[in-house]
Symmetry: C2
Subunit: 245 residues, 2 copies
């Protein structure tokens, strides 16, 4: 049994903390950032790194929940299904995001790779031990979960109360916020998701998504060089539409 004092003592012996994991380029956002050399060595013994091919299912709703995942490369979608096949995409996830948290021992949603994906995978049965050794990780996970909860709340407002036009504008702005650096205004976004994915994320049909996007294109708010590429031309205007103003 390892006491907090011992952990603290161990940490004090170490020199400056390792910057962050050298196996991915998440930087400070990563789960393993800010650990001491010794903590990092222990951390690596808990972790499994896995690559997942594009379109592969990582796990299904109802599967026994054995791992917690953090994406290092690629993009993942999470979704829930109704018995007749209607689908709701819960989240689009990118490097730095967690998924796989569960309540009753089974996953509550399906996770699917939208691109070739690299993940860090933590066995759930070892999580308590890991948190005991490196308590800061538990705080990080709580923070990440709180962030996902806030995103879910935003999406509930979108799904319940926004028009199709506002939904699509919100989606575009969200993509821009997540995938574009702050500086560059006119930056080409590569969409990892299909129109069908966008529709199932926004609670619309593919036809409505398509019509709304061409609408925005005709108004000069965006450009669509090809189906998988998107250029935000008037971010401010889209933001105003997204917020219902």
């Amino acid at each position: 049994m390892l006491s907090l004092d011992m952990v603290a003592a161990e940490r004090d012996k170490c020199e400056s903390p390792v910057g962050y994991c050298t196996h991915c380029d998440l930087g400070a956002k990563s789960f393993c950032s800010g650990l001491t050399t010794e903590q990092f060595r222990r951390f690596m013994t808990f972790l499994g790194q896995t690559s997942i091919e594009c379109n592969a299912t990582i796990f299904r709703e109802g599967d026994p929940a054995q791992h917690l995942y953090e994406i290092t490369v690629g993009a993942v979608k999470l979704y829930k299904l109704l018995s007749d096949g209607r689908r709701q995409i819960i989240a689009f996830l990118f490097p730095g995001d967690f998924f796989g948290l569960s309540l009753n021992g089974t996953y509550a949603y399906t996770a699917e790779a939208m691109l070739p994906v690299m993940v860090c995978r933590f066995p759930k049965r070892k999580l308590d031990a890991l948190f005991e050794e490196i308590p800061v990780l538990e705080k990080k996970l709580l923070g990440a979960t709180a962030q996902e909860l806030a995103a879910a709340h935003d999406q509930m407002l979108l799904l319940g109360r926004k028009t199709a036009r506002e939904k699509v504008a919100s989606f575009l702005v969200m993509l821009w916020d997540r995938l574009c650096g702050a500086g560059e205004r006119h930056q080409l976004i590569t969409l990892p998701m299909s129109r069908s994915d966008i529709a199932d994320f926004l609670g619309l049909t593919i036809e409505t998504v398509s019509r709304t996007l061409t609408g925005f294109r005709r108004e000069g708010l965006i450009a669509l060089p090809d189906v998988n590429h998107l250029l935000i031309r008037q971010h401010e205007a889209l933001q105003r539409i997204a917020e219902g103003a």
Copy 2:
């Protein structure tokens, strides 16, 4: 009738760990259950207990987030607004539920009492110290947050992909699950929320909620003795409707 004093007396007879806080009747669900006598004593120094009158606003979206709350008595609604007044209710909360977690130092939603409410209130700036003293609390908060996240995911499926009929049926089943003991099949539910609240929770209008409820009443699935009381007559049938079968 069982007085609080009697409950407290019964509990004081017990050795450590203290079963649970004597100030509320949450039992094992409570944040403070399963603590040792000493831990419980320390716990109480962190906590403020507050009563809130019905319909009072506890905090507003954008307010500086100073406290984390746990409900001990009553019911609370959380909601977000669009600039033109459109409202989405994020959650209906009952005894044992937490709220007030925030990311950037401000609350991301408004919290309003639907009944006279009692809460335990934890200052955020003391939370780290509390977790250091009683690490199990951090795990409990993580668990509660994960549970809220799962509920949010279910609600996203409802908002994005269910019909009005399925939404209202889901809502009724959810109420039954949360507010009724498992044994009693025909149990009268007292609704703490208005039709307008239900509509803003389900992404519908009050008219559609009203029409759907009268529909269920005519079909014999429920009874509505008066506006604030509800009797589930055919739970199974409602469950089937809720799941889109």
